[in-house]
């Protein structure tokens, strides 16, 4: 005889350690099965887009750090590209190479956090997360070396970066890249073939490529379903057309595929950094203040630039009225848009898979709420 159950509504969050920030879900369970999910967010809303309207273009760089705080270099990068397009600034080649190196390092750090917390959500309390964070620590040390801060970098400026990397950065970067490769090998040795991970993640929260495209999901989530969409390859910004890297694709589109794509992308990032080191040439890292003054007054108009962030397409839309600060700034936050399929992923699933699925989206509440 089947046991009759009654649907129960459970409130999860906003102060829940597994929600990656302050995120709240109202979940209706029928036994172990999820019947309904209502995501509620906005607890970390700081009004960054509004604040940008009263700051000058250089000052907004500090705001973009705080949007997605585990990949602040990528936020800087997207914003700076938008400013350069709006104000028609020609960047300095060395600055471009440096910011590509910084962005790829940040992508590795962000993916390490994503995989570490995904495994933590699976129930492996501590060990894999600590291994991932230990490696991220080395990357943050590199950031401290080049820009003096570990999380809120503010490294990029319109036209390049604010200052050249110090001499001791380059040997440290070489050592750091070797360490990253070793860590990824380790990660794959104990996670990618692990039967517990297989049984927990394979076949859960499967999404069809059509649904993903219709919901404009981007990033590792989309590539895990076999859709070849990487802006570094499709619409190369900066010097991404001068480096070779493989596009990582998986066809399963389940939680394991999303994890696997992230791990492999870290390897590609290391490859890109190595090519950047080979091709970088001496020169100024930013245009002189005669060409790009501190107080930029772009001509009237608007610009939208998107880059391949760690979580998907990260775009900045700027409208200028000819003044010293933008008339309007809008951020296409990939975390927020990737969150829109949460209901489709969770409904019909089991309670135990809730946080795993949530972790595989790789959310950052700072970016969702801004």
């Amino acid at each position: 005889m089947a046991i009759k159950t009654q649907p129960v509504t459970v409130n999860l969050g906003p102060q829940h350690p597994s929600t990656h920030g302050v995120f709240r879900m109202r979940v209706m369970f029928d036994g172990e099965e999820i019947v309904d999910v209502e995501p509620i967010f906005g607890y970390l809303h700081r009004g960054s887009e509004k604040l940008a309207e009263e700051r000058t273009y250089t000052q907004i760089v500090t705001l973009t750090d705080r949007m997605d705080y585990v990949s602040s270099m990528l936020n800087n990068h997207a914003y700076i590209l938008a400013v350069e397009k709006l104000a028609r600034i020609e960047p300095s080649p060395r600055g471009v190479w440096l910011r590509m190196i910084a962005s790829e390092l940040q992508r590795v750090a962000s993916h390490l956090v994503a995989t570490g917390f995904l495994i933590q959500d699976l129930g492996a309390l501590g060990t894999p997360l600590i291994y991932a964070m230990r490696e991220r620590e080395n990357i943050l040390d590199l950031f401290e070396m080049i820009c003096g801060a570990r999380i809120t970098n503010s490294y990029l400026r319109p036209g390049g970066v604010f200052m050249d990397a110090p001499a001791e950065f380059w040997p440290a970067l070489d050592r750091g890249l070797d360490d990253i490769v070793r860590t990824i090998d380790e990660l794959e040795a104990y996670l990618s073939g692990n039967e517990i991970i297989f049984s927990r993640t394979k076949g859960t929260a499967v999404l069809s490529p059509e649904l993903l495209i219709n919901a404009s999901i981007t990033g590792p989530m989309l590539r895990a379903s076999g859709v070849d969409w990487d802006l570094r390859h499709r619409a190369p910004y900066d010097y991404y057309d001068r480096v070779n890297f493989e596009r990582i694709l998986h066809t399963a589109s389940d939680n394991y595929a999303r994890y696997w794509v992230r791990v492999q992308e870290m390897r590609e990032s290391v490859k890109i950094i190595k090519q950047c080191i080979e091709q970088i040439e001496p020169g100024p890292v930013r245009p002189s203040f005669d060409d790009v003054p501190r107080l930029i007054r772009p001509p009237e108009g608007d610009a939208y630039v998107a880059i391949e962030g760690s979580k998907g397409e990260l775009g900045f839309y700027l409208v200028s009225d000819g003044g010293i600060s933008p008339y309007r700034m809008h951020v296409r936050a990939s975390s927020l848009i990737n969150l829109t399929l949460l209901r489709d992923m969770l409904i019909g699933g089991q309670f135990g898979d809730l946080f795993v699925t949530f972790g595989s989206v790789d959310l950052n509440m700072g970016e969702v709420d801004r």
Partner: protein
């Protein structure tokens, strides 16, 4: 089905189990008897005989020494370094600050025979309780008067105490970070070991020689 995946994982964790720890002890590090004796400049047996109480403490793991955290020279610390002689009270830093937390009041100062009319800095307050240490004020300073500092232990019990005043900046140890200051990196200045006492050394230029100064200010006038 259980296959090779789990044993392979356990080999990795076993390797990590025996590799040296990366944890950094802060603010104090525990030292044993050997460490205490080394600090005192004796060999451990001597120390055990001469100071039995301290030795017991050390053996019990209670003896500690303070440690410094390893930081990069460009570290944007929780303070500022300010050279009053280099400042012209132009207020570029205040204009460039994204949060507007730098308050500058300047009054027309004396008219100097050498340097002409100057502005005297009356108030120079930085509210570091609201500061995010982005360093844009330092980037804006045209005369290299304001630098990021390298220390970060500035917690206080009240928000009002977090306002750094002019006097506090004058008296503080001058350990500027080399953030946006390439001249420090050229000289390979290490803020964690040395200080900069002469304001001439903080600038982007060479210090003028005494003959040059005499020629400029005495002979040509």
């Amino acid at each position: 089905m259980i296959g090779l995946g789990l044993p392979r994982g356990f080999i990795v964790t076993l390797k990590n189990f025996i590799r040296p720890a990366v944890t950094e002890q802060y603010p104090d590090r525990h030292i044993g008897l050997l460490g205490v004796a080394k600090e005192a400049g004796m060999n451990p047996f001597q120390f055990l005989v001469k100071k039995p109480a301290d030795s017991l403490k050390a053996i019990a793991g209670l003896a500690t020494v303070p440690v410094a955290v390893e930081q990069a020279a460009r570290f944007r610390g929780n303070e500022f370094t300010f050279f009053e002689d280099r400042c012209t009270a132009c207020a570029s830093c205040a204009k460039y600050c994204p949060l507007g937390i730098i308050e500058i009041v300047s009054v027309p100062g004396k008219i100097d025979a050498q340097e002409g009319e100057s502005y005297k800095l009356d108030v120079f307050d930085i509210d570091i309780g609201r500061c995010m240490f982005c360093g844009l004020c330092v980037e804006a300073c045209p005369y290299d008067a304001l630098h990021m500092g390298t220390s970060f232990e500035r917690s206080k019990y009240a928000r009002d105490e977090l306002i750094i005043t002019k006097e506090e900046l004058f008296d503080a140890d001058k350990r500027p970070s080399s953030w946006y200051r390439p001249q420090f990196e050229e000289k390979s200045f290490d803020p964690f070991k040395e200080t900069i006492d002469d304001h001439y050394d903080a600038g982007r230029h060479e210090r003028p020689s005494d003959e040059d100064l005499k020629k400029k200010w005495v002979d040509e006038r």
